[in-house]
Amino acid sequence: MDKFNIDEVYYSMFLEETQEQIEKIEQDLLLLENGQGDKETINDIFRMAHSIKGASATMGFEDMERLSHSLENLLSKIRDMKININVDIINTFFKGIDKLKYIHSCLSKGEDYVLDINELIEEINSLTENSTKTIKNEIELNGNGMEDEENNCKDIENLDIELSDYENELCEDIDLRFNIYKIVIIMNEDTVMKSVKAFLIVNNLLGIGDVISTDPLNFEKICDEDFKNPFKIVIATEKSYEEIYKNINSISEIKRIFIKKVRKSKKQGSTPKNVKIISSKDNFKRKDISTIRIDVNKIDKLLNLVGEFIIHKENLIQIGDELKRKYKTDPLVKKLVSILPNINYIGTELQETVMSARMLPLDSVFNRFPRMVRNLAQKSNKDIDFIIEGKETEIDRGIIEELVDPLTHIIRNAVDHGIETKEERRRKNKEERARIILSARHEENNVVIEIEDNGKGISIEDIKKKIIEKNLAEEEELQALSEKEIIQYIFEPGFSTAKEITDISGRGVGLDVVKENIGKLSGIVEVKSQKEKGTKFIIKLPLTLAIIQALLIKEGNYIFAIPISSIIETIRVKENEIKEKIHRIGDLEVFDWRNQAITVISIAKYFEIEEEMENKKLFVIVVGHSEKRFAFIVNRLLGEQEIVIKSMGAFIGKDKLLGNIKGISGVSILGDGTFAHIVDIASIIRG
C-alpha cells in the first residue's frame, strides 16, 4: 500500500491502537520483571507484538514492522520455554519498546524520523539465538582515537554513542536538512581551565553548526576539579565528519575525539537501507507551529535589560512620590504621577513575560527518574511504584539544571535506605509493593517539590546515636531538643545513618550537599518522617533566581539586602527597651521573641563595620532558615524593593579574584547606582 495515500481514519485508528498496545506491553514487562507475570502475561505480550507487526506492515512502516517482528520471535522462544526470561532480556525488551514508542510519537505528530534500529534488532536476535550471550556495553570509549584518517568513519560507526532521551527530544525540533552528530571529547587530564576549553570548543563549533546540547550542561561554571571528562556535545550541521573533526582538532590539549552521526540529513543522496524517512502528509500539521527557537543568550540579555529597567522604574516612582509631596498642585507633576502607575504595570508585565520565557516544565528533570528507580529497585530486590505528579509545573531554567543532583540524591536515598526489602515489608505486614511519589506544584511565588516514600521512616534513636558517635552534639543537648529538631541533623556535614555504604547511595556525599545546593538556589529543604510510615522531603524553590523582593538595610556606609522570603518579622526596639529585650548569656546574645529566646546576630559586627554610636533605637529582623530562627540586629531600615541579583560566582571562592567572602550571596545595583550586598542567610547562620 502506498503510505502517502493512507486514509486518515485508518491512520489515526492505527496510531491509537498501537499506542494502547505499546503501553500494555510496557506494563506487562514491569509485571514480568517483578515476578508477578505468568504464562498468560507472556502470551499477552506476544499477541500484542504480533498485532503491531501486522498493522505496521499494512501501513508500510517498515522499521516498526521489523522491530516488532524480532521481538515477537524472541517472545515465541520464551513462550515455548526454550529461553528463560532474565534481566538482560527484559532490559533489551525495554529498549525495543522505547524505539517503538519513539517511532510512534513521530508518526502521531506527523513528523519525519530517522532511526537506526539494526543494532538493536541484532541484539534481540542474538538473545533469541543464544540467551546466554552477554550484551555489549553501551559506551565503549576505549576504542581507537582518530589518528588514522582513513579508518575514521569506520571506527566511529562502531562506537555506540547514543542520544539520551532528553537530547532526543531536543533533536525532534531540528530541521531535517541537518545532520545531527553526537561528539564525545576527552581532554588531557592536566588541562587547566577545562570549562574555558569546553567553551572554546563550543564557540568554534558554533561557526559550523547549531549546538543543541552539551553534557555537562552549564559547563561554563564548573571548576577543573569537578569537570566531568569526557565532554559531550550534540550538534546539528550540514557539515561532514571531517569538517567537524578538523574544527575540534584545531584546539590543543585534546586527547580524543569521537563523533557519531545520530541523524542523517534528508538532503544527502541515497538513503541507506537501515534508515527510513517517512514524509509527513499535508493534513498532519506540526503541532508547534506557533513556537520558535531562540538563543538562550538573547533571552538572558533581555532579562538583564528588564532588570535594569526595573531598577530605574523603582527610582522613578520614588522621585514621583517626592515630587507629589513637594509640588502637589503643579500640573506637570500631576501628569507625571498619572503616568507612573502605567510604567509600573508595564514593568511588572514585562518582567513576568521575560521570566516566563525562561521557564521550562520540570518534566525534563522528572522524566529521568522512573528508569533510575526501576533499575535501582531491580538491583536491591525491592518492589516500588514510582508516581510522578505535576511534572508540567514550570520553573526557571537556571534552576532546572541545578535540580538534577539533589533530586537524584534524595530519590536514591529513598529507594536505598527508605524502602525496605520485600521480605522486611512482609514481616511488618506492609504491602510488599512500596511507593515513592515525586510531585511538584506552585505555591504563591514558590515551586514546591516533594519526594515521599512509604518506607521505614527515619529512626530518631539511630540519629541520636549517630550524633553522639560523630560528636555533633552532647547527650544532654539532645534531650532538650524536639524530634523535629533532631531530625534536622541529617543535613549536617559528615552525617550518614546508613549502616553500610552501598553502591547505590552513600558514597560519602550526604544530605548536607543537597541542602547546600538547594540553598544556593535560594530554596529550602525540609524533612518530615514518621517511623514505619515513611519519609517526606519538601523542597521549596523560588520561581526565579534573577529578581527578588528584598528589605534594604544600612550599616555604616554599606547597604545590605535581605531576601523577603526569609524574613518572618521586623520589630522596632526603642532605646529603653534594648536592655529588657536583648539579654546576654555567656558569649551569646539572645532576643525574646514570642516567648522564645533566639540567637542574636549583629549585621554590623558580622561584617566588621564600625557601629554608629547614637543607638537611639534598633531594628530586629527575625529570619528563618528551615526550622531555625535568628534575630538580626540592624541600625537603619531603608525599605522594601525589588532587586536584580548579579551573581558574583565568578569572583568568589578559592583562587578567585575576591577570595572567600562569607555571608554575601551576590550584589545588586540600586537605582541611584549604589551597591547593595545580598545577605546569604544560610551561610551566616552556619556561622
Binding site: V196, N203, E220
Partner: protein, 117 residues
C-alpha cells in the same frame, strides 16, 4: 611575519619572547597596552598575537574586539591567570582563537602558537 607580544609586565614579555625565540619563532614586536596593540597590529601585521587579559588603558577583551574588527582572521592567544575564566570566555566570544594560563608553560605556549602559525 611573526608574533606580537602584548603584556604590561616586562618580565612576562621577556619570558614569552625567550621561549618563542628558543623555538625559532620570530617575534615581530612587543607592546604594553591594548590600545597600542591595535596600532602595532595594523603596522606589523603579525601572524599571531599573545594578549594579556588585564592591562591598563585598553584591556585585553576590548583590544581583541578592535583587532578582530580590523582583521576578522586575526589569530589571538589570550594569556590569563587562574580565576579569570569568565574573562577568557568573553575574549573567546569576541574572537580570540585560544588561551594559555599563567604561569606559562613553554611546551603549551609553543603548541598553541604552532597550531595557529
Amino acid at each position: 611575519m611573526g608574533v606580537l607580544i602584548v603584556d604590561d609586565a616586562a618580565f612576562m614579555r621577556m619570558t614569552i619572547r625567550k621561549m618563542l625565540e628558543k623555538n625559532n619563532i620570530k617575534v615581530v614586536g612587543e607592546t604594553t597596552n591594548g590600545k597600542d596593540a591595535i596600532e602595532k597590529y595594523k603596522i606589523l601585521n603579525p601572524k599571531v598575537v599573545t594578549m594579556d587579559i588585564t592591562m591598563p588603558k585598553l584591556d585585553g577583551v576590548d583590544s581583541i574586539k578592535e583587532i578582530i574588527k580590523i582583521d576578522p582572521k586575526a589569530k589571538i592567544i589570550v594569556c590569563s591567570s587562574r580565576g579569570q575564566e569568565s574573562l577568557v570566555m568573553k575574549a573567546i566570544a569576541c574572537g580570540a582563537k585560544s588561551f594559555i594560563v599563567k604561569p606559562i608553560n613553554e611546551k603549551r605556549l609553543i603548541e598553541e602558537v604552532n597550531k595557529l602559525l
